[in-house]
């Protein structure tokens, strides 16, 4: 599976994953039914999977800054929708599926959610993220058939009425890094990368009207950093839930990215954060002091025409391009073995140069720019840009339907670039990650599993296997024929 363009045991850099919440509609149903409908949606999944997940080790209330909040804030509008609704037990509500590729499919806060298996390589991660679209579509079709109603799935992050849901990235990060150093390495990157990774949005849901902006999520960030995800969302999320030995590891939990239709954007989105983490590890992070990350994030998002503006200390400012180039320049002095990151550096510089000097070489690579290009083409043909109709087309860009979705229309017309997907996902977990071990149990010994989580598998025999995320797991584990042998190999 690995090639000279994907990292191997020696050149791997940072383990990463993506979890995506999907929007959906069911003919004749509305948002007040969504909590129950999402549960039914996941439960109709026809894909093979174990109906279990172990939450015992999970605690989303722990904050990286060394404390724990008493509770997480919930969305007031959702609380209104839920008035009088009796909630089923948590496990029933979640309706977890542990999938044979090491992924997880479940219901989260009224959205079907697919979490990729952990991946060392960007190519594997993108392939498994795309596989998630298919898992969700399969469930939608099964539910549609059962109800005899149309079910539509949208891979986006906003309903244009003030509700947002997430696409989160997770990065395994050593605990040795000080929190402030981690935040200073990552926040400038999160603000700047959106010019190469945003999914684009017609209009705004806060802060005054705008015709088009670069990201779906910028409207929803109100604090520079905190542990919340459902309300009062931050640019930098401080959730401290490593899904691994917490004395050694953090999990950097990035919530400010968009859902991307374009696989090249997904690859770039994760690769750029990996780059920042590699530089942090080598003490080569460019130093940017951004006093107001929320406003800077929103200013960049709202400037689809210019370079964007990031305000710095002492009444000075810079641009997303200069920030991204500073990370690339710092990488020139770092030791980087991961071939995907080296490729990313070259691509980043090329796209930054092309954005204004040669837009034809930019928009086919970037979701927001491709969407804007298409909408402008339509506006030209109609003789006007009508905002609500453009929002309808924006939504259609994210429709997961190869016949009717506008992203797929651009793709099938051959107008996009860099959207090829590594074909490794089908049936195989990501090369070398601990998902290989999880998949080996799920595929070959499902009846002997009591329960499992990201970092642990508990067997009905009473044995418990802890999966160290930093190790390299050979694909040969998938071929082991006895559970005793598999357990023995993982205990070595």
């Amino acid at each position: 599976m690995s090639s000279s363009f994907t990292p191997d045991k020696q050149t791997r850099s940072i383990l990463a994953g993506i979890d995506t919440e999907y929007g959906f509609t069911i003919e004749g149903r509305d948002v007040t039914n969504q909590a129950d409908d999402s549960m039914a949606f996941v439960r109709h999944s026809p894909d093979e999977g174990l109906l279990m997940w172990d939450y015992q080790s999970e605690n989303p209330r722990r904050d990286m800054r060394g404390f724990q909040v008493n509770h997480l804030t919930f969305d007031a509008q959702d609380a209104e929708f839920d008035g009088g609704r009796s909630r089923p037990p948590a496990a029933e509500e979640r309706s977890d599926r542990a999938l044979p590729n090491g992924a997880r499919f479940y219901n989260d806060h009224g959205h079907p959610e697919y979490a990729t298996p952990e991946s060392w390589s960007l190519a594997d991660l993108v392939a498994h993220e795309q596989l998630g679209d298919q898992v969700v579509l399969n469930a939608a079709r099964a539910l549609s058939q059962k109800l005899n109603r149309e079910v539509q799935v949208y891979k986006n992050n906003t309903d244009f009425h003030g509700a947002s849901w997430g696409t989160h990235e997770s990065y395994l990060t050593p605990r040795k890094h000080e929190f402030n150093d981690l935040a200073r390495a990552i926040i400038p990157m999160l603000i700047a990368r959106q010019v190469l990774t945003g999914a684009g949005k017609v209009g705004s849901e806060s802060k005054g009207p705008v015709k088009f902006q670069i990201t779906q999520r910028a409207d929803f960030f109100v604090e520079p950093m905190n542990v919340e995800t459902l309300s009062r969302r931050p640019v930098f999320n401080t959730r401290d839930e490593p899904h691994a030995d917490s004395s050694k590891w953090r999990r950097l939990h990035v919530i400010s990215g968009d859902s991307n239709m374009h696989p090249g954007c997904t690859r770039r989105k994760v690769g750029l954060v990996k780059l920042a983490l590699i530089l942090l590890d080598q003490d080569r992070v460019p130093q940017w002091e951004i006093p107001d990350p929320v406003t800077s994030f929103q200013l960049v998002s709202r400037d689809a025409v210019g370079e964007g503006r990031v305000e710095l200390e002492a009444r000075s400012w810079t641009t997303p391009r200069q920030i991204l180039e500073s990370y690339c320049d710092a990488a020139d002095h770092a030791e980087i073995a991961d071939p995907e990151i080296l490729e990313l550096l070259s691509e980043t510089r090329t796209l930054l140069e092309a954005r204004h000097s040669n837009p034809d070489n930019f928009w086919p690579h970037v979701d927001w720019a491709a969407k804007l290009w298409l909408l402008n083409q339509f506006a030209d043909s109609e003789g006007q840009w009508e905002q609500s109709a453009m929002q309808a087309l924006d939504l259609q860009y994210h429709l997961l339907d190869r016949e009717d979705g506008l992203y797929y229309g651009l793709s099938s017309a051959g107008l996009l670039c860099g959207n090829d997907v590594h074909p490794s996902a089908h049936g195989l977990p990501p090369n070398g990650s601990r998902a290989v071990a999880r998949a080996a149990f799920i595929q070959n010994f499902p009846e002997q599993i009591e329960t499992l989580s990201w970092g642990q598998i508990r067997l009905k025999s009473g044995e418990s296997i802890t999966l160290d995320p930093s190790l390299w797991y050979e694909q040969g584990l998938l071929d082991v024929e006895s559970i005793e042998e598999l357990t023995r190999r993982l205990s070595q």
Binding site: H109, G208, L374
Partner: protein, 60 residues
Amino acid sequence: MIYADRKQAPMPSEPQRKLGDDGGPSKPDIERPTAPNELLKRMKNIDPDQAKKYRQRSGQ
């Protein structure tokens, strides 16, 4: 520690642009390629009110 070769400009007395006061994007300065007619026709048939009807719960 490497310090980036930052290019900073002094802040003008009045910000060049405030949130929400721009006129929005203009079309990219390009003539080609163009969207296929079939795709434009498909776009014309999309319910212009579908985003107005699209309501979701907040997630994470």
